[in-house]
Subunit: 364 residues, 2 copies
């Protein structure tokens, strides 16, 4: 028994139904813009995500070409140059990065650096007159997010955050079911994302680079899910931190539980952890439910509702996200996952850390 068919989904998005806050996302992603040349994009930071997710996704986009790279490691530059046929003049170090301003091949800069470096490199990219995509979390504080938004506004460049799940059909369907009250008013959202982290020397475990632990890295997906499934902004939060390995997690949090209240009366219960695996989105509404599991990974995702299995397209999340941002630039419209969207999550994350410290309910 299927509650929604792929055909239903495609016909719905084809009709321009609003999913999340973006009109006809899927439509745009299929679109090309005449004979216009592709937008040139430069990746800043050539780690795992850039190499194994973004570079392959860029090959699937119609409106982007991987035109440049920025790295502090010459060997990486050499490898990428060879693999993607990138000219010398489009390769930068962190020292000479600002001279990218003069490079006509580069329209967009994608910042894929450790979290605490997002602020600096987004602002430098904006000052260089480039549109910017910044990986999540947008930064490590509300203040940084506000400065990044201001810098992009001043430079008149577009800013978007790497919230790939806004462009992923299962999460879009969860958002639609919640926001459109498909099963009545949403009462409870359960959203959890945690994994057992490996290498104890990695930057994710250093507060100076990551800004925090599991919350900054994967907890943010659970915050996002609660927000887009209710279509509301939380008004208050309680939170608890738990630590079983104070050596590995001397610098950042291991596990956080948090609970949010929304204006409609909907409530969410979430978990994030670097200690073990949990990955699920569950919406309990008055007359039915929806579950995604897995919910937030790179896919393939799976989901079901109280009516049956969800049969939705399996897509490349990053390609969909990139193509939407290309469309924003080419159509000169604001991204639905812009700096303000990143800022909203950072305000919640700061409230969660305050709630842990105070042991009390904190307003957001």
């Amino acid at each position: 028994m299927k509650s929604y068919s792929r055909r239903d989904f495609l016909s719905r998005v084809g009709m321009g139904t609003t999913l999340l806050t973006v009109p006809s996302i899927m439509g745009n992603a299929q679109q090309t813009f005449g004979s216009q040349k592709k937008l040139g994009i430069a990746l800043v930071g050539l780690g795992y995500y850039a190499e194994h997710l973004l570079a392959p996704a860029l090959q699937q986009t119609k409106n982007f070409s991987l035109a440049g790279v920025v790295s502090g490691t010459p060997a990486k530059i050499d490898k990428w140059k060879a693999q993607y046929n990138i000219p010398d003049k489009n390769c930068y170090t962190y020292q000479n990065f600002d001279s990218i301003a003069k490079n006509k091949d580069i329209d967009v800069v994608y910042v894929v650096l450790p979290n605490s470096m997002h602020h600096e490199y987004v602002i430098r990219a904006a000052k260089a007159g480039k549109h910017v995509i910044c990986e999540k979390p947008m930064a490590v504080s509300v203040k940084e997010c506000e400065e990044m938004i201001a810098a992009c506004k001043k430079a008149n460049v577009k800013l978007s955050i790497g919230y790939r799940l806004h462009f992923e059909p299962f999460n879009q369907e969860a958002a639609r079911v919640g926001q459109k009250k498909e099963f009545g008013v949403v009462k409870i959202v359960e959203s959890s994302f945690g994994f057992k982290i490996g290498d104890p020397t990695q930057w994710r475990l250093k507060k100076s680079l990551a800004g925090g632990g599991a919350m900054m890295d994967v907890g943010i997906y659970a915050i996002q899910a609660a927000r887009y499934c209710t279509g509301e902004e939380p008004i208050s939060v309680t939170a608890q931190e738990f630590k079983t390995d104070p050596v590995k997690f001397k610098d950042v949090e291991e596990t956080i539980f948090w609970q949010m209240e929304f204006p409609s009366g909907a409530v969410s219960s979430s978990i994030t952890s670097y200690a073990s695996n949990t990955e699920r989105l569950f919406i309990s509404a008055e007359n039915g439910w929806l579950e995604l599991r897995p919910a937030y990974g790179y896919g393939p995702l799976k989901g079901r509702t109280s009516k049956g299995e969800l049969d939705l397209p399996i897509v490349n999340h990053q390609a969909m996200q990139l193509e939407d941002f290309a469309a924003c630039i080419l159509e000169n419209r604001e991204s639905s996952v812009n700096g303000e969207e990143g800022l909203r999550d950072m305000k919640i994350i700061e409230a969660i850390y305050r709630a842990i410290a105070s042991g009390k309910k904190e307003k957001i």
Copy 2:
């Protein structure tokens, strides 16, 4: 891909492996005790659970016969007498219930009344010299539980609480996986049980009869699950109450979230609600996970682990529970779900209510 087969399970229980705290539960349930006559049981309170769950389950037991009924409604008595061939002399009202002491046909009394009446009727049954099964929650306060335990001890009768899931294979497997560290140390337990309650006039919504709302009714399953999956007693709890319908829930809670810490460092996050459906048990351990969904209903239950689907016997929970208590009486041993087990949950429930009131972490 199956992680555990039915054969593995049966061979394990046949070998007398301890599941929860009961040796060879399944084994006992299959057992008869020679030519001894069946134990006579009287049901006190002839509501839905007695009529649709317990009476049919009793027909499946080898060691119990439904010998008597206690009710304030003459029409119900007439119906049960006819259906189960119960003699007049084994039918009681709440007024003449104490005279059951003289009735040799009745060995055991099963109290299936609204929660706030458990205390009185368990004590009256004990004074009448009958062994007692009391539905969960055991009572509505720690003080009541302690008095019930003392009364049964004084009368030298056995007391057990209607924790049917201790005798249900999927929950037993969850307990085994957690306690035996099948996937390493348990880090996080997620356990939720809620449903959308119907009839606004029912006793479950009256504090004087129910003692509380969703927590007393179904939240207790989520507490139980966290306890038997860790094999530990929680040491502290934080909790939050949420209410969207202050008319329907003027007397009792609608939704509660709570978080418990265990001595090993394991933590649990739980939800109970009368506002919408949620029913799941999830254990995240160091190297794998187990999920039951549905987890706590009358069945059939379903489950899976990080290794694959669980293929376990589908049983009548109430029949298994009843047969174990018969074995306890016939073998003169203590029930694993005795009054102390009920008391443990009530101490946690009181701590949860204290944590809601204080807005702080409360010790248990």
